[in-house]
Amino acid sequence: MMINDNTRKIEEVNNNNETIKINIKDCLSFFLFAFKKQKYNIIIYSFFLVITATLIPIYTYLWKEYIDYATIDFNFKNSIIFLIIYIGIKMLVEIFNFFYLRILDKINYTSWRVLDRTINEKSCNIKYEFYEIPEIQSKINRAWNFSHGEYVDLYQNMMYMLKIIFEIIGIFISVFIINPILALICIVTIIPAFITNFIKNKISILNNIKLTNLYTELNYYKKILLNQDLIKDIYLNNSFTLFENKFNNLKKIIFNKEIVIERKKIKLEIIEFLVRIFLLCICLLLIGYFVSIKLITFGSLSITFTLIATLIFNFTEFIEIVGLFVTTMYSIQQYNNLFKIDILNDEIVDIIDDFEKISFSNVSYRYPLTNKYVIKSLNLEIKKGQKIAIVGSNGSGKSTFIKLLLGLLSPSIGEIYVDSQNLKNIVKSNYWQNFSMVFQDYCKYKETLKYNVGIGNNSKITNDKVILKCLMIADFMKEIDLDTILCKEYGGIELSGGEWQRIALARAICKNGKVYILDEPNSAIDPIEETKFYEKINKICKDDTCIFVTHRLGSVLFSDLVIFFEDGEIKEIGAHADLVNKNGAYAKFWHCQASQYQ
């Protein structure tokens, strides 16, 4: 069932991408995209390929002449000349090969970087709201896995395949020059290899697709078993056996499935081998016959053998790479699908530097792919300078409200206005400049103290003085150098919860926003810290707006307005004392916690 509101747009975007159809055109255009980004490299690369391919008929011819001169009518001078030229050209091929490998490395590196950057750009541009859809997050993850896993091999192999194609053409031309009939024989001998490899690849591809989910699961348990952070937990619950069993069982299932496939492949290989030997025998007899009736020379005979061997080898590789390409087509398609996500950027042009009020007009919100509104017809006006405490039970819509306020989510129904401008039309990066935030799960960067504070304000170059001042305002007492790394692993020091709290606050101060948003910032700190923290906050945002979400009702005393959420609605709103006097739901909440202190 789909509800017709603004959120539906997001659901539709997701729906369009639900089924993954493999489209060869898309996959090839993916390569063209990577090609376009490095035209220069590709041109040099193709130049090398053409050169090496054209050299094949030349040195084949030279070798044939050398053998002929050396065997049929012995001509020492001529044969030596041909041999020397032959060796010269072969050396040239090797030199080209050296450059070829270098340019290939360069192409690989560039294409990989291009891919990573595009994924990054895309994921930054996708609206936050999309991340509420698990599918989007997994799409990005898959794109990342693709760029760091399959893709690295794939691109290299595709480039290698180009080389093989050129080589095969070169070989055919040279065989054709020697004798057109020989060219026909070449084709006949490679047919069985071609067919068996084709079947083999098809089996592996089907198998791989079937095993993907099992492998994902296997990797999950592997990660658990190797995760240092879980050692404590695994040790205390004695759960090592559980994970190990799960891991081993999965491995067994995968192994058993794979062994069946391997057996099939080996059978095919044996058949192919027998057929090839048979065909080769016939060819040998035929060529022997040709030599005896002097249709071809002895030199041609010897060169044909080498060429057929190279050809078979090349063809096998060729088919393997084609197989690899087909296997990864699925991943390429998924990658493409990430880029097909319409990021729904409306015409966002409005700039806002300062505002007097934010007003919610009849706002309802439901998360994409759900039917329940978690915020229902909200009407509210937040004025500059207000200190607002947001209270309510788990799942009452507090966090959603904050996300709506920040413009991370956009209302399903209704509008949010900042002064008179609609929030949806305001450039978000500009809007966010106005906010200083401390979240419960603030990031603890494994970086220097300076970085950890300065990250709050990345638009300006912050100097040491500013950072020291922020730390001072935030009451960070510990006397450590600004360049100390805040992580023991990297040779720095470890801080306690309270100290991190102050750094998070200093970060917010450093950003110097006009609205402070605190989402349960105090759950990890002790009571004395907590009171100090709020007193501090009160001082810092004297004239600024301050909005905080809390479960510890003691802190509501630092607010002048309490908003009590229940079931997505504002159940009660007013000053703390009024609400307690009203003796409603908020009063119940309050007394529940306060009674513990009487």
Partner: protein, 280 residues
């Protein structure tokens, strides 16, 4: 973390060498900390200084103190994750290092603040083994309202949680917290340890869950690390840790009357609520 690994290694090695380690029939009647000191290897500052206390079966103990005072370290020592630099920790009069790893898993039921969320079924997340849920368990699960979570999905207790797999369901923080609590309580243990077990819950649910835990395990030894001092009047004994020392110990009333460190901490939280009530 490396310290943990090192000491884990040591413990495992020690246990495999120790032939007298205790593995079965463990019913802890008494815990004793005897002049325990602890510092991390290669550091000079003691995280715990001369901690001594005794507690008996049936007691519930709250460990309170400021951030970084050493509360969590005390718990980790008790669990045998770290070894005391000097002093002894005795369970039933026997040094903790004599208990095998398996024995400790049977003795302790623990919920840490940073409990793990596994992308496995609800049942596996609770049992942490392949075992099925039986009648004894289902009573507890009903008690902690875990069956409400399971009944939301068609697959019940076999619903895969988390966000790692395509068919897994993500549940809220409060629901995860209840599952983590039930993980510690589902099997009969002698000692229960809860590190901020109710941090993600709203006030009403918090009290409910806290009371439920305390009522369920009143015949065992239980430890609570908490910043919410309102709860401490429900426990039998409070250990107040300050500056890495055990500075006060006793019943709630005793500590309040003593007007010492605990009182100071308690008042700082209480005064907000008193002020809030006076506004009425």
């Amino acid at each position: 973390m490396t310290e943990t690994c090192d000491s884990l290694d040591n413990i495992i090695k020690k246990n495999s060498q120790d032939k007298t380690c205790i593995t079965t029939n463990i019913n802890i009647e008494k815990i004793e900390f005897k002049n325990v000191y602890f510092k991390y290897p290669k550091t000079t500052n003691f995280i715990l200084n001369n901690v001594s206390f005794i507690c008996y079966k049936g007691e519930s103990i709250a460990i309170v103190g400021e951030n970084g005072a050493g509360k969590t370290t005390l718990i980790k020592l008790l669990l045998g994750l770290y070894e005391p630099s000097s002093g002894q920790i005795l369970l039933n009069g026997i040094d903790i290092s004599n208990y095998s790893k398996e024995a400790r898993a049977v003795i302790f039921g623990v919920t840490f603040q940073d409990y793990s969320k596994y992308s496995m079924s609800i049942r596996e997340n609770i049992m942490m083994s392949d075992e099925a849920l039986d009648e004894n368990n289902s009573e507890l699960l009903k008690y902690l309202e875990i069956d409400d979570i399971a009944s939301k999905y068609n697959t019940g207790f076999e619903t895969i949680l988390g966000k790692d797999f395509g068919d897994s369901k993500e549940i809220s923080g409060g629901e995860w917290q209840r599952i983590a609590i039930s993980r510690a309580m589902v099997k009969k243990k002698s000692i229960y340890i809860f590190d901020e077990p109710t941090a993600a819950l709203d006030p009403l649910m918090e009290i409910e869950v806290f009371n439920k835990i305390i009522n369920k395990i009143n015949d065992k030894i239980s430890f609570f690390i908490t910043h919410r001092l309102g709860f401490t009047n429900k426990v039998d004994k409070i250990l107040m840790i300050k500056n890495n020392c055990l500075c006060e110990m006793g019943k709630f009333e005793e500590l309040v009357n003593m007007k010492g460190e605990f009182y100071r901490l308690y008042e700082s939280q209480r005064k907000l609520y008193i002020r809030g009530n006076n506004d009425d």
